[in-house]
Amino acid sequence: MIEKTAISIPTEGAMGKTGTWRVFKPILNKEKCVRCWRCWVFCPDLAISRGDYPVIDYEYCKGCGICANECPTNAIKMEREEK
């Protein structure tokens, strides 16, 4: 293709490591987790994946706290990032 037009290629981290946007960090307490996967399905940033237990990808988690808010057993707590 010779012409230039606004074509973009699917890329993970297109906006960089969005984990740097985070102010509060979700911390999972596996003992309380009932694996309902609400944190997974509601994560806008695809930062929670499904292993045996939820796996949080801190490289991309923006720290919105939806996971903690939606967790039925309070297994996720939001803690201030230490920077």
């Binding site: 230039k4 037009t5 606004a6 973009s8």
Partner: protein
């Protein structure tokens, strides 16, 4: 085969022979019979295309963009206010580098409503990145539509192409047109191949946010293509000439060789100008004609005569006749006439008068400032 038919029907016939996958169009006077004829072709099965009966011209152009973005050859037609409504999407088609082909039947812009010829509708689209052809006869309408696909789809170009012709003067006037066989057209036009397309196996995104620097490059690439188009248009015009006996270039030079004065104009006015040149020559005047076939890209290199008379059927308020304003005038004597707006009849006799005025050093709005 000779077909005698109106400019609009000839445009529809040419579009049909180019076999677009998708046609999306909205009716507007005086383009309407293009749409009607194409709908007939599709419904009768003569043309295997999807015809989208859109709810506006804006959607007509957008539907063509959508279709072209998944790899389809497309066609649409419009006029005047319809073209103005499309304006936003004309830019979109060109920046997306989709070789959509469209005919625009030139018509004045309101208010008040005026359905007659005036080139301001399409000339106002000059900065959208569309290649623009202007036809002076129904034969040229046919030939330009066919060539438009080949030029726009050329990998060096990938720009949309607009073929313009005067409302009623050409759109509703029957003329004999030499129409090649379908196989010959098929042979001339390559199968449409897109250079980019929306494909589930290669899921690109087209048109998300582009930062300033790459945007600059995208615009520059368009300018390069437009410049390259000058070469490609002449290549394709020459090939067309070899195959069909009618050769085309960016301009048609008529009796210019020893001319003291050269008229510069386009569209139906150029047909009248040709008659005026012959008659003036008969009376011993050394005069010629440059008929602009393309307005974009603008063929500066052909407009190099010492004394030129430019006749515009469009103007830019506060500046003047549009072709006139775009001329390189250094060291040249250039006279500009604005004539025939809103369908005011201009024939060869009027053009002969303009020549007489120019010789006396006068120019301006014909019929108002000079009469």
């Amino acid at each position: 085969m000779i077909v005698v038919d109106t400019g609009n029907h000839i445009a529809a016939l040419a579009a049909k022979m180019a076999k677009p996958h998708v046609i999306a169009a909205y009716p507007i006077t005086p383009q309407t019979t293009v749409v009607e004829r194409l709908a007939q072709y599709v419904e009768s099965g003569e043309l295997n295309s999807e015809f989208i009966r859109v709810e506006s011209e804006h959607s007509a152009m957008t539907a063509c963009i959508g279709a072209a973005a998944v790899g389809a050859r497309t066609f649409t037609a419009t006029s005047s206010h319809g073209l103005l409504l499309m304006h936003e999407m004309l830019h979109w088609a060109a920046l997306a580098r989709l070789p959509i082909v469209m005919v625009n039947v030139n018509r004045a812009i309101g208010p008040g409503w005026n359905i007659w010829s005036d080139l301001n509708d399409s000339m106002a689209q000059r900065d959208t990145g569309w290649i623009q052809f202007y036809a002076s006869s129904n034969q040229e309408i046919f030939d330009n539509v066919i060539q438009a696909y080949k030029i726009g789809e050329d990998e060096r170009i990938r720009l949309p192409v607009m073929i313009c012709y005067d409302g009623f003067i050409l759109s509703h006037t029957s003329m004999p047109v030499e129409v090649p066989k379908q196989e010959e057209i098929d042979d001339f036009l390559n199968e449409y191949k897109s250079t980019w397309q929306l494909d589930i196996n290669n899921p690109i995104t087209h048109g998300n946010i582009v930062p300033p620097e790459p945007y600059l490059e995208i615009r520059y690439s368009m300018e390069k293509a437009m410049k390259e188009a000058k070469k490609v248009i002449e290549e394709v015009g020459e090939e067309f000439g070899r195959k069909f006996g009618r050769e085309y270039r960016l301009v048609e030079e008529y009796r210019c060789d020893d001319a003291d004065y050269v008229i510069v104009t386009m569209s139906a006015l150029a047909a009248e100008a040709k008659i005026a040149v012959d008659r003036l020559r008969d009376k011993g005047n050394r005069i010629g004609l440059i008929k602009l076939r393309t307005y974009r890209p603008f063929p500066h290199e052909y407009l190099k005569y010492d004394k030129m008379i430019v006749i515009d059927r469009a103007f830019s308020p506060g500046l003047g006749g549009i072709i006139y304003s775009e001329m390189e005038m250094d060291g040249k004597e250039v006279y500009g006439f604005i004539a025939g707006l809103g369908g005011v009849d201009i024939n060869y006799k009027d053009i002969e008068k303009m020549y007489e005025y120019a010789k006396k050093g006068k120019d301006g709005w014909y019929g108002i400032e000079v009469k």
